[in-house]
């Protein structure tokens, strides 16, 4: 098992506990299976902290193919999702448990 050991060591060595610089934070709410606001404008080219607050009593899964993100948010709970750095553009996200109503976009703008 020499190879796996080496591999595991490389993997752990690559785990830098980065100091948290000032990351811009944006808030998104889930209400009645809708995202509020449904369009969020964020700066392009930088990491962004997304605070998602679920005001519904039921769980929802924040999901986005273009952002490469998925996370379950339990009813009446909130969570943090880090996204980016994004190239300027429009990125769709949706609630996997209510994909017909819970749809939103993140617009990354160059500043």
């Amino acid at each position: 098992m020499r190879l796996p050991t080496v591999f595991a060591l490389i993997l752990f060595a690559a785990l830098p506990m980065l100091a948290h610089a000032a990351v811009p934070e944006f808030t998104l709410e889930i209400r009645q299976h809708l995202f509020v606001p449904d369009t969020l404008t964020v700066p392009a080219g930088t990491k962004v902290r997304l605070r998602v607050i679920n005001r519904d009593s039921t769980p929802e899964e924040f999901e986005s193919y273009s952002l490469n993100r998925e996370k379950v948010i339990m009813g009446l709970q909130e969570t943090i999702i880090f996204i980016g750095p994004l190239a300027p553009g429009r990125y769709e996200f949706f609630g996997e448990f209510n994909p017909r109503s819970a749809i939103g976009h993140i617009v990354a703008e160059a500043r």
Binding site: T58, Y65, R69, I80
Partner: protein, 252 residues
């Protein structure tokens, strides 16, 4: 709601079903029984139920990134399990270990996918009609998911012996490497690994949200927009799973 629940359930079941198909082929190649399956499924479902029950507490770990940490750990463990299988596949002395690892890999997959489904269904417990509709959709999703797993199994089994072994190993490598890449994505989402801009996007070619993209995701963890770190780990994982018999021969 029927279609939505079908898709939600299918997405979760497909991954477990594909890995089960792969494990069956592997077991068949080395003449193992499938007696481990019920126990493994039972353990997986029990752990899924526990995880779903304590999900709020788990999610709150480390300032709200417990979910990412747990998912990446589960994915990484599945990879380690697959690596051990590649290592000991032909070793008669490790037969019990191989069975145990197969059972563990399947139980871990069931835990992750099952917990998400339990959370999904927890939203409908108050509404009998809606619950009925979504359960019906879910049953259809389970049916389709299992059928596709069976298709994977028979595709590999129908091949000639050497082609089947090569195909299984290749598939295991792609699947396992995809698991590692998913683990990296989760850690990047949690900000435990540095955030990175994706290297490219093949969404124009095969969009992840389309049926083909979804299928490729379940079969090989298809990722249309990988970050550099995801790619490196994917390549390393793939290489390791393909090379492992060589290191076994050297050790022998």
């Amino acid at each position: 709601m029927l279609l939505v629940s079908l898709v939600v359930v299918l997405r979760e079941v497909l991954e477990a079903s594909v890995i089960l198909g792969l494990l069956f082929v592997l077991g068949r190649q080395i003449g193992l029984t499938r007696r481990w399956v019920p126990v493994s499924l039972g353990c997986g479902l029990l752990m899924a139920w526990l995880l779903a029950s304590y999900f709020e507490q788990v999610a709150a770990w480390q300032d709200g990134i417990g979910q990412e940490l747990l998912n990446s750990a589960l994915s990484a463990l599945v990879f380690v399990g697959l690596a051990c299988l590649c290592q000991w596949q032909r070793n008669i002395q490790q037969r019990h270990a191989v069975v145990l690892i197969m059972a563990t890999v399947f139980a871990l997959t069931t835990t992750r996918e099952g917990a998400e489904l339990l959370l999904y269904y927890s939203a409908f417990t108050g509404d009998a009609d809606l619950l009925k509709t979504t359960l019906l959709g879910g049953a259809m999703g389970v049916g389709i998911g299992l059928s596709l797993g069976v298709v994977c199994y028979y595709v590999l089994v129908q091949l000639s012996n050497s082609a089947s072994q090569l195909g299984t190993r290749l598939w295991l490598a792609l699947f396992g490497a995809g698991m590692l890449s998913q683990a990296v994505q989760m850690l990047q989402q949690a900000d435990w690994l540095p955030a990175q801009t994706p290297l490219w996007s093949t969404n124009g070619l095969i969009a992840e949200q389309q049926v083909v993209g979804q299928l490729l995701y379940a079969l090989f963890s298809y990722e249309a927009t990988p970050t550099p770190l995801q790619l490196i780990v994917w390549l390393a994982g793939c290489a390791l799973l393909l090379l492992l018999p060589i290191s076994r021969r050297r050790a022998a």
